[in-house]
């Protein structure tokens, strides 16, 4: 990896988070918080710093749904599709979002935000919304496109 600002940032993050026991997840969270995804050149650096193989680091990144290997779209819509939200119309919201989202919005399935007393629940760009109806989702999708 040629020297760059990113490389410096990754080194700093490794220095800040790499010393604790079981450092890999906290480090990956910190890198993703900075870059919105895990840049490929970071992987050998992480592996070297934590004395892991690259395959081990790759294996951990791919195991957890929260980690992205590529820059994610600008907006992220997460729809809970577990039992309570499903009983309150989440599948209709899913269909609506799948049909009507712009290229800048990723749509993801989540199983439970712990908002089951106010289903259906979605999260848009990190903000939780409960008792969501079609009109509310439509407004969010319009804002995002």
């Amino acid at each position: 990896m040629p020297p760059s600002a990113d490389s410096d940032v990754i080194s700093q993050l490794i220095a800040a988070h790499g010393q604790q026991r079981g450092a890999l997840l906290p480090l990956l969270h910190a890198i993703q918080a900075r870059f919105t995804f895990i840049p490929a050149p970071a992987i050998p650096e992480i592996a070297a710093a934590l004395r892991l193989s690259r395959a081990e680091v790759e294996g951990v990144i791919s195991f957890y749904a929260d980690f992205y290997r590529e820059p994610p779209p600008l907006h992220r819509l997460r729809i809970c599709r577990a039992e309570s939200c499903r009983a309150c119309g989440s599948e209709d919201l899913w269909q609506q979002a799948s049909a009507g989202h712009g290229a800048q919005t990723a749509i993801e399935t989540v199983y439970c935000f712990g908002a089951c007393a106010a289903s259906p629940a979605i999260e848009f760009d990190g903000r939780l919304c409960c008792r969501v109806d079609a009109a509310q989702l439509d407004a969010l999708l319009k804002d995002a496109s």
Binding site: H29, F63, E83, G114, A115, C116, A117
Partner: protein
């Protein structure tokens, strides 16, 4: 003198508009020249009334809800600061039937205290338990714990004192206390409410546990779907450390305990304790074969006490009030209280904490007020791996053994109700879809069975040409997954699938000649 108003800062209350309401109320009051002090507290768990505001009237706490920003002017005009009548007035909140019939131990502070205020925590009996344990010693508390009858609240219901005794009795050397705050069973939100609303209770419980088993370091592994819980715990740990409730010398006892929050990364399986330990170690969250158990070979290979949030939050209560007081609640071998979380199609969704022994019917109709539309068709208790139960069995009592005898599970105490509109074959499909998405992949029955099971359900829903063979195959697959899976994800999937198939055969239509 300014009037004190309480509004929740719980993440679901905020999602329903609590922040906007607080801002609008403060602005409108200033314009009207009314003096009020808004404090942000935990949630009562009366979610169908959120956003809820409570006014200290001098004759108790009067509630108004569910409110929208557009209600603020009419509230002020009506004189709600004096507890005046209004179409959305609820009267004294503690007299609402939903609350009055509860026995709140773990959620005694819910809706009353500011989550991050150590002063509020201390003023409401917080840290009295830890002080008693420090004065009386670990042996005395172990006896209290056994007397309390506490069993792990994560679903397995293992007697807590046996787990503690194993870790406590381990050969000298490093050991850990770990809180499993990644039990992401859909429908269960008591963990989230407790961490967001009463973080010091969890911290105190873990501190007592650490002192008793000889741990100097603890981890709270929280699912990433609960960002507010993570932030609250991190802040509360900082405040507790600054006040010497954590750190090198806990309250001058000479004993050290450090606590750290670890954020999960979107893997349900990490709610399984051995997968959780792997994840803290920085690995893929794959389930470990057992034995050995975590109590002897846990985190980093060391003896580890792993408990869920509600088990650990019960500890300060047992320490403060004594084991006998805790045992007094409940029935048979299920002792203490269980926070149950109502969700789905119920009119009154929220948190119900009572002693074990309540009937499902009471819970669904007296507390939940029945379905919003029509009748309750079925309920699933205990999360995505729980059995469906229909009206003929609603007299079932909330009790670990009663549920087990019925072929159901109590799990985390989540209760999701569905009405006539619910497609039960779709729910059975969801169980397999969920299992396939969240399987760690280590054992074959779960990894492959979840995919094959989903395919069989799809055929049955379409009107399978080989209906009877497919049903037999599905039941056989359920048995294989139950008997051959390493952990509960594959091992308990048969509960929702088999119960849906048995109770709702019409949802899986016979082949129709075209």
């Amino acid at each position: 003198m300014s009037v004190r108003i309480r509004i929740s800062e719980d993440s679901v209350a905020i999602a329903l508009g609590a922040d906007a309401l607080a801002t609008a109320l403060a602005q409108a009051a200033a314009q009207h020249g009314e003096s009020l002090e808004i404090i942000r507290v935990s949630s009562r768990g009366l979610y169908w009334l959120e956003p809820l505001i409570e006014v200290d009237t001098g004759q108790g706490s009067f509630g108004y809800g569910p409110l929208a920003v557009s209600d603020v002017e009419s509230l002020l005009a009506a004189g709600f600061l004096q507890g005046a009548a209004h179409p959305l007035a609820l009267g004294p909140v503690e007299s609402l039937p939903f609350l009055e019939r509860q026995q709140r131990l773990l959620f005694a502070r819910a809706g009353k205290t500011r989550p991050l205020s150590l002063d509020d925590y201390l003023a409401s009996g917080g840290y009295a338990g830890l002080k008693r344990v420090l004065a009386a010693g670990g042996d005395a508390f172990m006896a209290e714990l056994e007397a309390s009858g506490l069993r792990g609240r994560g679903g397995a219901a293992f007697p807590a004192h046996l787990k503690w005794a194993t870790v406590r009795g381990a050969a000298s050397g490093e050991r850990f206390v770990v809180c499993n705050a990644d039990e992401g069973d859909s429908g269960a939100y008591a963990d989230r409410m407790l961490m967001e609303g009463d973080p010091y209770a969890l911290i105190e419980g873990m501190t007592i546990a650490a002192l008793c088993v000889g741990a100097r370091h603890g981890y709270i592994y929280v699912r990433s779907e609960y960002p507010q819980a993570i932030a609250k715990l991190q802040a509360a740990i900082g405040h507790a450390r600054a006040a010497a409730y954590l750190g090198d010398d806990v309250l001058g006892s000479g004993q050290a305990f450090e606590l750290e929050v670890r954020q999960g990364a979107g893997a349900y399986i990490c709610g399984e304790e051995s997968a959780l330990l792997e994840s803290i170690e920085g690995k893929r969250g794959q389930v470990r074969a057992r034995p050995p158990l975590p109590a002897s070979h846990g985190l980093f290979g060391r003896p580890t006490l792993v408990h869920n949030v509600l088990s650990l939050a019960s500890i300060p209560i047992i320490a403060r009030d004594g084991g006998a007081a805790f045992y007094h609640f409940g029935r048979e071998r299920s002792r203490g209280t269980l926070p149950l979380t109502l969700g789905g199609c119920l009119q009154h969704g929220g948190l119900v904490e009572t002693a074990f022994g309540l009937s499902l019917r009471t819970l669904l109709y007296d507390f939940g007020a029945g379905a919003k539309n029509g009748e309750i068709k079925a309920v699933q208790v205990g999360g995505p791996l729980g059995a469906w139960i229909t009206a003929s069995d609603f007299d079932l009592l909330i009790d670990y053994e009663a549920f087990a005898a019925h072929g159901a599970i109590l799990g985390h105490g989540s209760v999701v109700a569905v009405d006539a509109s619910c497609d039960m074959a779709g729910m059975a499909r969801l169980a397999f879809t969920f299992c396939a998405a969240e399987s760690c992949g280590k054992c074959t029955p779960c990894r492959i069975g979840s995919v094959r099971g989903g395919e069989i359900i799809d055929r049955l829903r379409d009107g399978s040409a080989q209906h009877d063979q497919d049903v037999a195959l599905l039941l056989e697959l359920c048995d294989t997954m139950r008997d051959g899976s390493l952990c509960a994800l594959g091992g308990m999937l048969h509960y929702p699938v088999r119960s849906a198939l048995t109770l709702f055969p019409d949802a899986f239509p016979k082949w129709r000649a075209k």
